[in-house]
């Protein structure tokens, strides 16, 4: 019986933890929506010069993606070292690829 109550306690502890996690995820969702709206507004109103807009858009996108990866997909949690390592590897290869194709392709 003692075992049982013990596991119930850990269960409620875990439940509480999951609830807190869920709140964080909701906050990150709200922020993602805000960033999306900012990005669209900046482009739709044409308030800024192209030179400034593109870096801003990219930064907003990267922050959003970080929220997805770290909060929604739990990459910040423990037991995610290997997934994180391989995602970083994939991102590194991705950056090289995009840079290679985008910068050094002539006509």
């Amino acid at each position: 019986m003692t075992e049982n109550t013990n596991s119930n306690e850990t269960n409620s502890f875990q439940k509480q933890k999951r609830k807190e996690e869920m709140q964080k995820q909701l906050i990150s969702f709200a922020l993602m929506i805000v960033f999306t709206i900012i990005a669209f507004v900046v482009v739709a109103t044409g308030m800024m010069d192209g030179m400034f807009v593109i870096p801003i858009l990219l930064i907003l996108a990267i922050i959003q993606v970080a929220f997805q990866l770290y909060y929604f997909m739990h990459m910040k949690d423990k037991d995610h070292e290997m997934p994180a390592l391989m995602m970083y590897g994939g991102m590194w290869a991705a950056i090289l690829t995009v840079a290679g194709l985008g910068v050094i392709s002539w006509w």
Partner: protein, 207 residues
């Protein structure tokens, strides 16, 4: 039959998706697959960036894209990402009914996204004669956005298959990893979409 018992314990562990070795393997393998998919989409993005001004006299990105529809699509897909987070939340609380409910909402939002995309493509083809074959820009656009749409389609079929398959028997340690990997896949689709709406649509509007 000791085996069946081990997959249907009386109390679910805290992380049912990683409670068995098979589950751990699936979890890790699927993450690695997503690492590879990152490179796959990077290649398509790179191709698009190289060819985005090669319109061959056809419509340019600025003339084509309308932001309203893309904004709706973005909100649909972002919300579906959140609903699948809810589904996983209920999976960890071992509440199968609520998980199915949220997964169902995810599927509906996904279909909404897909419908918008199909409308968008037919619109471009019929109104602007902007096709896969009309210019290098067209090829690159449809390849990139189409690959993403194909991923959405595959994800929806996958989701519906596992939802129907497990509808009657509920959650156990054998199918929990399947639901979890699906949610990872669905988030990844959203990650790619964030870059698509930024690089293709918004940057296409800026010039």
């Amino acid at each position: 039959m000791s085996h069946d018992h081990s997959l249907n314990p009386e109390t679910m562990p805290n992380e049912p998706e990683k409670a068995t070795l098979e589950g751990k393997n699936k979890f890790l393998g699927f993450w690695f697959f997503l690492g590879g998919e990152t490179v796959l989409f990077a290649c398509l993005f790179g191709t698009y960036i190289t060819l985005r001004n090669s319109t061959a006299g056809g419509p340019t990105s600025n003339e084509l894209f309308g932001l309203e529809l893309v904004f709706i699509m973005t909100i649909l897909l972002l919300s579906s990402s959140l609903t699948s987070v809810y589904a996983m939340y209920h999976m960890k609380n071992n509440d199968f009914k609520k998980m199915q409910l949220w997964l169902g909402i995810t599927a509906i939002l996904g279909f909404g996204f897909l419908a918008c995309e199909i409308y968008e493509f037919t619109h471009y083809i019929h109104e602007y004669e902007f096709t896969f074959r009309s210019s290098a820009f067209g090829s690159a656009f449809y390849a990139l956005v189409g690959f993403h749409g194909g991923h959405v389609t595959f994800g929806l079929s996958w989701l519906i298959a596992i939802m129907i398959r497990n509808a009657k028997r509920g959650l156990n340690l054998y199918n929990a990893p399947k639901f979890y990997t699906f949610s990872l896949y669905w988030h990844f689709i959203d990650v790619v979409w964030v870059f698509i709406f930024t690089v293709v649509y918004l940057m296409g509007k800026v010039g």
